[in-house]
Symmetry: C2
Subunit: 337 residues, 2 copies
């Protein structure tokens, strides 16, 4: 799955910022690849990018029109169609992050063929993957894992990748979710792959590489998430990680969307993730803990990270508040030979 920037971000009729996760991700991490945003009159939220019409975005050089929002049910509402049609007529490829498929709408398929543009349903991978073979690959890999969904795995992964680049260490960000794919311009939405091929898709995503090269792989879900743990385990096995970073969030009592499930203890999460990772890479080590401290003040954030660092013997940082220097130091120290 390869995408072509620059992007025009379509926000549809979104009215809450959570629904804008995809547009906001790309606006945060690849702002220079974003021409601007396009909204319907009902839309009450913004990414902060310039507000444009589709025609204006095309005139300014946009190559891809991104449905960068979500709604209940993930459906493509009839009111989105006119803007999508203008984008196709302007020669833009269309990337769709909703569950419903553009390719199920005959009038869009016909129009896209006429204008020779791609309709890319990012949640529906069309690649036919192989099942995993479990064979050891060359190159090094870091994977983020989490105590829950939505704790900051993608942000942490991107921050570590950026820090490695700054140190002239050869690395590639490997996207496994739709926001990450939009940022990287490629990747595999592993939660959308047929179950038999989860690990195989990740093996294909992070192939053999130079011995000193790092794939920095975006994690998904959590081994402790009753709905999605299968995706997480398949991703861990396929990634064959040399290094793990555990991501956690403060003051979330219950697993996301699961009122009967508490978040796991950090020590348990480390131990269980390492145990599974060591099936396909016996040398795997944990190199740090990334904490989303957004629920507390600066002082509490700092104190909590220090405390967890002391308890675990691992660097512990909030990548937004504190950066990831200590975590990357640990990685470099452990793996420089």
């Amino acid at each position: 799955m390869k995408l072509t920037p620059p992007y025009a971000l379509f926000l549809g009729d979104a009215t809450d910022t959570l629904g804008l996760k995809m547009a906001n991700s790309i606006a945060t991490w690849r702002k220079h690849q974003c021409i601007g945003e396009i909204s319907l009159p009902e839309c009450t939220v913004t990414t902060g990018l310039p507000q444009l019409s589709v025609n204006k975005a095309a005139e300014l050089g946009a190559k891809t029109f991104v449905l960068g929002f979500n709604n209940a049910g993930g459906h493509i509402d009839a009111k989105y169609i006119p803007e999508i049609k203008i984008a196709i007529q302007q020669g833009l490829n269309i990337v769709n992050g909703l569950h419903d498929k553009l390719t199920d709408i005959p009038e869009l398929v016909t129009l896209a063929n006429q204008h020779n543009v791609d309709l890319i349903d990012i949640r529906h991978p069309t690649t036919r993957f192989k099942t995993a073979n479990g064979e050891k690959r060359t190159g090094k890999r870091l994977l983020t894992v989490g105590t829950d969904c939505s704790v900051g795995k993608m942000y942490t992964t991107l921050a570590i990748h950026t820090a490695l680049q700054a140190r002239q260490i050869n690395s590639t960000f490997r996207a496994t979710g739709q926001c990450g794919i939009l940022i990287a311009g490629e990747g595999v939405a592993v939660d959308c792959v047929v179950a038999d091929f989860i690990s195989g898709a990740v093996e294909a995503l992070t192939p053999n590489n130079d011995d000193a090269h790092w794939d920095i792989i975006e994690g998904q879900g959590s081994l402790f998430q009753p709905a999605y743990a299968g995706v997480t385990l398949g991703l861990i096995h396929g990634a064959q990680p040399d290094a793990l970073v555990l991501c956690h969030i403060l003051q979330r009592d219950k697993m996301r969307g699961m009122p009967s499930y508490a978040l796991p203890d950090i020590h348990d999460a480390i131990e269980l993730n390492l145990r599974h990772a060591r099936l396909t890479n016996p040398g795997c080590q944990i190199v740090g803990i990334s904490i989303n401290t957004s629920a507390v003040d600066d002082i509490t954030a700092k104190e909590t990270c220090l405390q967890i660092a002391k308890q675990t013997g691992l660097p512990c940082q909030d990548p937004i508040r504190h950066g990831v220097t200590q975590i990357v130091d640990q990685l470099v120290t452990l793996y420089s030979d």
Copy 2:
């Protein structure tokens, strides 16, 4: 996914018994639902059922024509088409266990519509599942888990279900793979579900039930199988099992298809499966070990089972050689209230 017996089993051009797994499963477990088998001249294997033509099978009352074999690549060869067409013209539904889809072949779709029969691609579930909610369901559930793939989970599950029926204990066999689905006449091929919905599909497969009712759920893969462990974990979480039975095979050195991976220790397998199962059902217990002893003689089989029973403190039996009486006794003892 619901199927209509009796079945006519099509063996295609199969030349090894491993490729007949699906046909043999149904011929073993639901012989009275099988009218006979149909083979191409190249076919060198048999289920032992009477050999018939498609027309004869229809005349004898077959309602469903089953492509019950596999080949390298799982493709629908052109030479299978004439027999499939006769079956459709005779008004039989077609069930296909190959990877390729009947519904991708326009001439079959057209013919099936004309004759008002169903084309059922058993590896491609068409149901739209929800993601799991993790909420505790009523009724009781037993799940088989394994040290590897193909160690006897389906056989064990069916044997336990049959034994419960014989004791007048209300139970339902819940199929999670294509052979099981054919035997049960319904089920979900969980390895064919989109990754996000593995646990949700299992929740839907084993819904709320009477407090004393047992769902006896067919396991898939193994937490220690680098290719398929994600499916296994999603199945464990969605099943919310009250009871586990661990299935193992003697004298297999390496995980199936994975020459670099050894089979896990039985104690490790028990501990890790229980740990994950207790996320969604904290009361889960292991009630027995089922061993495929086909690689050894009767005396060694008996001695090995006794030894494992002693080491683990659990009933240990080969369901084919010894039955499952002790395992079912343990289940009944633990859960009779």
